[in-house]
């Protein structure tokens, strides 16, 4: 900024010297231009400082709020778990049903708070990636077994095919898990009645690619350009499933990009969707 001011002042002086004869007028013009440049520089610097401060405060605010929201939610979850465990007396079947409702709703709130926290970290570039060697194949198998009860209850079959002898990749297991979880959750959740989710893992050049294909409700053509936007939920999806924050795909895409990969999809309303992403091996 300082160099620009000096350069501009010198420029004004040299150019002005050609056209203005009176040295006093020339000095006045140069002083005036310098003063204007100083004022502009001051305003720009202050604006930047305010932006940095606002970003820091936003990040701090989200961190404090999420902590304050998370604490009562985890207290509530643990108390429900304690009651359901039967450690302090047997629970009747009807009571268990209601405890399950409490637990599920609590889980929804915990998930939302966690998603909001992740989004805020993505936006303030504060999402830490703790990379290490991981086997995508093992991670997917683990996730499939975790999803099995949910898939079974939704009448969905999950099939997994992987190329053999795939190398391990260097990525953050926690974040990659979040990506696959979000895509797999959507695939199972948006299948109406009965269906199948096919997962394929393979190698393409210096990357591994993962494809998750479902025969669910699909995404209408006019909504396809918005699906990676925060809080966006397609209208046809809202007809089948009102739950969901609309943050999953935004988070998935951001994490994949931050890890050096790409996310793509194709979809047809009423036929299903295929999402795939790549991740560099090293």
């Amino acid at each position: 900024m300082g160099l620009i001011i000096i350069g501009s002042t010198l420029g004004v002086y040299l150019i002005g010297n050609r056209y203005v004869q009176d040295p006093q007028v020339m000095a006045l013009i140069t002083l005036l231009v310098t003063a204007i440049l100083f004022i502009i520089a001051f305003i720009v610097t202050r604006s930047f400082e305010r932006l940095v401060e606002a970003s820091r405060m936003k990040s701090e605010f989200i961190s404090v709020v999420s902590h304050q929201l998370r604490s009562p939610l985890s207290n509530l979850r643990w108390v429900i778990e304690l009651l359901m465990s039967g450690r302090f007396g047997k629970i009747e079947e009807k009571q268990t049903e209601y405890f399950k409702i409490l637990k599920e709703n609590n889980a929804r709130m915990e998930e939302l708070v966690s998603d909001l926290l992740t989004v805020s970290r993505i936006e303030t570039a504060a999402l830490p990636l703790k990379k290490k060697e991981i086997s995508l194949e093992e991670l997917i198998k683990e996730l499939i077994s975790e999803f099995e009860p949910f898939a079974k209850a939704s009448n969905v079959e999950i099939e997994f095919k992987s190329e053999s002898n795939l190398p391990k990749i260097f990525a953050d297991p926690f974040q990659i898990r979040l990506v696959i979880e979000n895509l797999l959750d959507n695939a199972v959740r948006y299948i109406k009645d009965k269906g199948k989710v096919e997962i394929k893992l393979g190698k393409k050049g210096e990357s591994l690619y993962l494809e998750i294909k479902d025969n669910g409700v699909g995404i209408p053509k006019e909504d396809q350009k918005y699906i990676f936007q925060k809080f966006f939920r397609s209208e046809n999806v809202m007809r089948y499933q009102t739950q969901g924050s609309g943050l999953g795909l935004f988070i998935a895409k951001a994490i994949v990009e931050k890890s050096g990969g790409k996310t793509r999809f194709k979809s047809e309303e009423g036929k299903g969707s295929t999402f795939w992403f790549t991740l560099p091996i090293k």
């Binding site: 961190s63 643990w78 304690l82």
Partner: protein, 121 residues
């Protein structure tokens, strides 16, 4: 009977963990703020400390630092149990000498109890 010092300002959690750990035959000592926690750690010599980070009077980071600086308490294993998950928090806590860092939102009650039991073997 092994002694656990639980430094946590949420009385709901003090009750939940107190009840469950007493049922598991441990003796529980409660501290609702950092200052009391430090005093009880010195006077009671627990076998394990469960420490929250956001605490009144003295913050959990400072409590952990003081525990690890003091000859009398530095050998006591500390499990940090918190919902604070800021960038660098985990590294800071482990760097200060805590045994484990558990984010409350990520663990079930039974999982936390298992970690406590394991740390006391």
């Amino acid at each position: 009977m092994k002694k656990i010092l639980f430094i946590e300002d949420e009385s709901a959690l003090q009750k939940t963990f107190g009840d469950i750990l007493r049922q598991e035959s441990y003796k529980i000592i409660s501290a609702l703020d950092g200052e009391t926690g430090l005093k009880l750690a010195k006077s009671q010599k627990p076998d394990l400390i469960l420490l929250d980070l956001v605490l009144p009077k003295i913050h959990g980071f400072e409590v952990l630092k003081k525990l690890k600086e003091d000859k009398e308490t530095k050998g006591i294993p500390v499990i940090v149990l918190t919902n604070l998950e800021g960038v660098g928090d985990v590294d800071k806590v482990l760097g200060l000498g805590a045994t484990t860092y558990l984010v409350k939102a990520q663990y079930s009650l039974e999982e936390v109890v298992e970690k406590i039991k394991k740390a006391l073997i």
